[in-house]
Symmetry: C2
Subunit: 333 residues, 2 copies
């Protein structure tokens, strides 16, 4: 089993400092199996621990309304760095860093990076501390390593599901990217934001691979969704109700543009914008999603109708071309 740093001392100190009596523990799926262990530590401090069972995919999803309904005096949010600024309830972010070594995976990435000299390095919050190690391995192999910092996220080199500003800001100065971490989710985001070759060094499986095929497949699917949505007359415009996903003004803008183009558009709001929750609205022929853009991009096949990002909807309306949209990014503002 992987070991994560849950910073239990910091949690205890924050409970003591605030005199917290009810502490809401919120964690993404992969960390929930550790919840009881952490709850015991919280209760050893004299507070009641309440474990959130809701799905949690990012720091955008900080459990503010849940905490208010529970009269919690502290949220401990695991697995993500701070994103939403709020003063309603004290929130402690435990990034759950892992100490897994990245040198083997990085060395395995070198053959895939053979044609590229200038490498942009990026990772998710869990592996930030390994960027030095990876930089060293790449430099030893004669590469120029660049780590971007656009100032929007907590850390240089960090990417999150919906924000690739740190890699975009160095796009003109690199030939390819190396992403350190598990899964293809973040690396796919890098390709969609930059259209550059991107290699994954996976320290869990100690392997390296490219995701060019997956990215091309996804772009084909997006092209088809836009083509299908061009036939639609009635659009549902999705408003996300997670604290960092509520872009009501953007939804109103989409509604207005749709109506200017002679289309019908109505706002639909929800916390969990999952396919099941859209099944009961047969009259909508397509959706425009203003919440987390990854809802549109990562499992479009699960939705029965096209579910477009705002940028993609602009292609449907003819406001921009497919090529212009790709240049901007599928979901960049």
């Amino acid at each position: 089993m992987l070991s994560f740093d849950f910073e239990e001392d910091r949690i205890r100190q924050e409970i003591m400092r605030l005199g917290a009596k009810r502490v809401l523990l919120q964690m993404p799926q992969g960390l929930k199996s550790h919840a009881i262990k952490i709850a015991k530590k919280v209760e050893a401090c004299g507070a009641i621990a309440i474990i959130s069972v809701a799905p949690c995919y990012g720091a955008c999803d900080i459990a503010l309304s849940e905490s208010q309904e529970l009269d919690a005096d502290l949220i401990v949010h695991f697995g993500h760095a701070k994103m939403v600024k709020q003063r309603k309830i004290p929130a402690l972010y435990i990034e759950a860093k892992t100490s897994v070594a990245v040198d083997v995976a990085t060395l395995k990435a070198l053959p895939l990076l053979a044609n590229y000299k200038r490498i942009g390095l990026a990772t998710s919050v869990q592996h930030l501390e390994t960027l030095n190690q990876a930089t060293q391995s790449l430099s030893d192999a004669g590469k120029d390593v660049i780590i971007g910092d656009a100032g929007q996220l907590e850390y240089a080199g960090q990417v999150i599901g919906c924000n690739y500003s740190n890699v975009k800001t160095i796009a003109d100065r690199v030939d390819a990217y190396l992403f350190i971490g598990g899964g293809i989710f973040h690396a796919l985001g890098i390709v969609l934001a930059t259209s550059k070759p991107t290699i994954i060094a996976d320290p869990y499986d100690n392997r390296a691979f490219t995701i060019t095929n997956e990215a091309q497949q996804l772009l084909k699917q997006r092209f088809a969704s836009i083509r299908d949505a061009k036939k639609a007359k009635t659009f549902g415009v999705l408003v996300g109700l997670k604290p960092g996903q509520n872009h009501f003004d953007s939804a109103m803008k989409v509604k207005t543009i749709a109506e200017e183009h002679g289309l019908s558009a109505f706002l639909l709001a929800g916390k969990e914008l999952i396919p099941e929750n859209l099944l009961d609205f047969p009259a909508f022929e397509a959706y425009v999603n203003t919440a987390c853009p990854r809802i549109s991009l990562d499992s479009p096949g699960k939705f029965q109708k096209p579910i477009l990002t705002v940028n993609e909807f602009m292609v449907v309306c003819g406001e921009v071309s497919w090529q212009q949209m790709l240049k901007k990014g599928l979901f960049e503002k």
Copy 2:
């Protein structure tokens, strides 16, 4: 298609009276296909309509936090009578009454009621106006009809998923119940609350039937869940976060009783207490559910672990016997 009374005039008047600019429309699954039609009426009044996509099973689930996050100035809640008292956001309840005739179904119920003289009549909010018609049909057949009113719900004779006080209050004075409405959900609740013979007169399919077998099957399943939970050492105590389902004090009481019996118990909170959201906590061997009791009773097979009502948990702890619990009801306070 069934026709419902959406009281569009009353909606328009309330929007005008409040000068509402953002109106959240919330409806159960069966009414969502009417959402666009209602949204158009709202927008004709100069307000923006926002349709909630979240599942909604009762007036306990009134969308308060969602409305606050959307700065809505009016909630229009369809399909249920008022239940939660709150002053945060104006809420209009549209019960969506149907005008379907119940005389044929009531006549078909008569053979099934042959052995019973005194009949307790009950229905869901949609069919309240048909109680007179059903009373007439039963009286014509020589029955004594009683409609209960315990004062807890909006209307005499009304039952909702978690409250059968109107039928319990007349249990000593009736031989059997006749429930007017579709599906077995409410009638099953009547049996679980009263242990009396209960017949359904379904005006949609114009048929009548008993649900004794379904009730016996469910009680067997509950008995087995309690037996399994007696082996558990670590319990998850579920706290519901829908406004009318948050029984934090009850959850704390369960935790305390569990610990007094040498068991581990931790609080788990969520808005949607669905099986998928409990899969990530393998260490819990059983759950005690303090939210909507029907979560425990209506699809236990979907949960991988026993999911008990609070009353059932008292049987697990040996505080009351199975027979005593049945007499009180599986979920009555």
